[in-house]
């Protein structure tokens, strides 16, 4: 895979948005000619890829997917999040049939994954206009750092501030591996298609994006945002965990504009001695 041009890399503000929300959405980033072609390609099926295949080798037999991951904005976002030459974990075509009666339970993919200094990214591509009735993917902003296992969250039907995806054709989402999500019930007359690829990083995910705005105030604002479904107290812990992730990917272990981490890790070691009042000291205090 060629190195993306710097202008196509994500900014620090976009990366902070991803760290806070667990998602990055690019509306209509895939051109119409590809979207027109996509349904037939996805219906025919995308050839399987062994786990861990380098991205540059994974889709040599699927020209459509190769074009998709090489679109400048898509390639720039993948590089910014997981770095050069990630491996393909797996891919899948998801079809929600017209008037399909069931929604998926809210879940995280794979199994519980508590890495604090690395993450996988899932690309989701929507070749059609997705309406609310078509049951676009449900996802929960800011849920990606919760330590839960797969569908143990299935009891949660709706959370305040959840995202029920409605998007134009050609939209791509990039999601943190931990985000709570699920395919919603399709109440429309149209089958809904989505193509997913999971990427594993092969390098340390440190400053892989365009860092020109690394200390922009908007970075701190992204990391400080709250979500309507957060409980009052746990919402504060979310900010603590975000700062820890931002420190890991920015390489700056002092970053903490709102002091969430600093105040609870401040354990000074310097001892102030009061030698004059210590009866065991041999130093005599002189009167002046």
């Amino acid at each position: 895979m060629p190195h993306p041009h710097r202008k196509h890399l994500l900014t620090s503000v976009q990366m902070a948005h991803f760290v806070a929300t667990g998602a990055l959405r690019m509306d209509a980033v895939v051109p119409d000619d590809m979207n027109q072609q996509a349904i037939e390609v996805l219906k025919a099926g995308i050839p399987g890829v062994p786990y861990g295949t380098p991205l540059s080798e994974a889709f040599v037999d699927s020209e459509f997917v190769e074009r998709l991951v090489q679109l400048p904005e898509v390639a720039g976002a993948i590089h910014s999040l997981v770095g050069p030459e990630p491996t393909v974990d797996h891919h899948a075509v998801h079809i929600r049939k017209a008037h399909e009666g069931e929604a998926q339970n809210l879940h995280g993919d794979a199994i519980i994954d508590v890495r604090t200094d690395a993450f996988d990214v899932q690309l989701m591509y929507y070749p059609q206009d997705v309406t609310l009735e078509m049951g676009g993917t449900l996802s929960v902003p800011g849920s990606h750092l919760r330590r839960t296992n797969e569908s143990d969250t299935g009891r949660y039907q709706n959370l305040r501030g959840q995202t029920r995806l409605v998007c134009p054709a050609g939209t791509v989402q990039l999601l943190h591996h931990g985000i709570w999500h699920g395919g919603r019930k399709n109440d429309s007359d149209l089958d809904r298609y989505m193509f997913k690829i999971r990427f594993n990083p092969t390098v340390r995910q440190v400053r892989l994006w365009n860092t020109d705005d690394l200390y922009d105030d908007a970075v701190a604002a992204e990391l400080e945002q709250n979500f309507p479904w957060y409980e009052n107290a746990t919402g504060r812990l979310e900010k603590y965990n975000r700062i820890m992730l931002w420190r890991a990917i920015s390489g700056d272990d002092t970053y903490d504009p709102n002091y969430w981490v600093t105040r609870v890790s401040n354990r000074p070691q310097r001892v102030v001695t009061d030698r004059a009042n210590n009866p065991h000291t041999k130093v005599k205090r002189e009167m002046v």
């Binding site: 299935g154 039907q157 709706n158 959840q162 029920r164």
Partner: protein, 98 residues
């Protein structure tokens, strides 16, 4: 002669369940999440079917006739995991018998 309890089929009564997730452990706190299950089978609530909570607070559900039958306990965090985030903590189960 032994008295036998009437079965649900005989009474015609069914349970509806409402689960509210609140912003704090207080029952009058803001609703942040919700789920419903309908034992009458007349409605079919499911994942991602609404963006608007049925009530603003847990107390509002009581005022509307829901009976609280279970609330989350308040457990201290496991030592060493004080900053972990996981499931929603303030879960309240309500019922209506209809």
């Amino acid at each position: 002669m032994t008295a036998t309890a009437e079965t649900p089929l005989q009474t015609g009564l069914r349970q509806q369940v409402l689960v509210l997730y609140l912003a704090s452990s207080a029952l009058d706190a803001r609703v942040v999440g919700w789920s419903t299950y309908d034992g009458t089978g007349e409605t079919h609530p499911t994942t991602g079917d609404s963006d608007v909570p049925p009530y603003e607070t847990g107390l509002d559900a009581l005022k509307d006739g829901w009976r609280l039958f279970q609330a989350s306990q308040l457990n201290p965090p496991y030592p060493g995991h004080e900053y972990d985030v996981s499931f929603l903590k303030h879960e309240f189960f309500f019922e209506k018998i209809v």
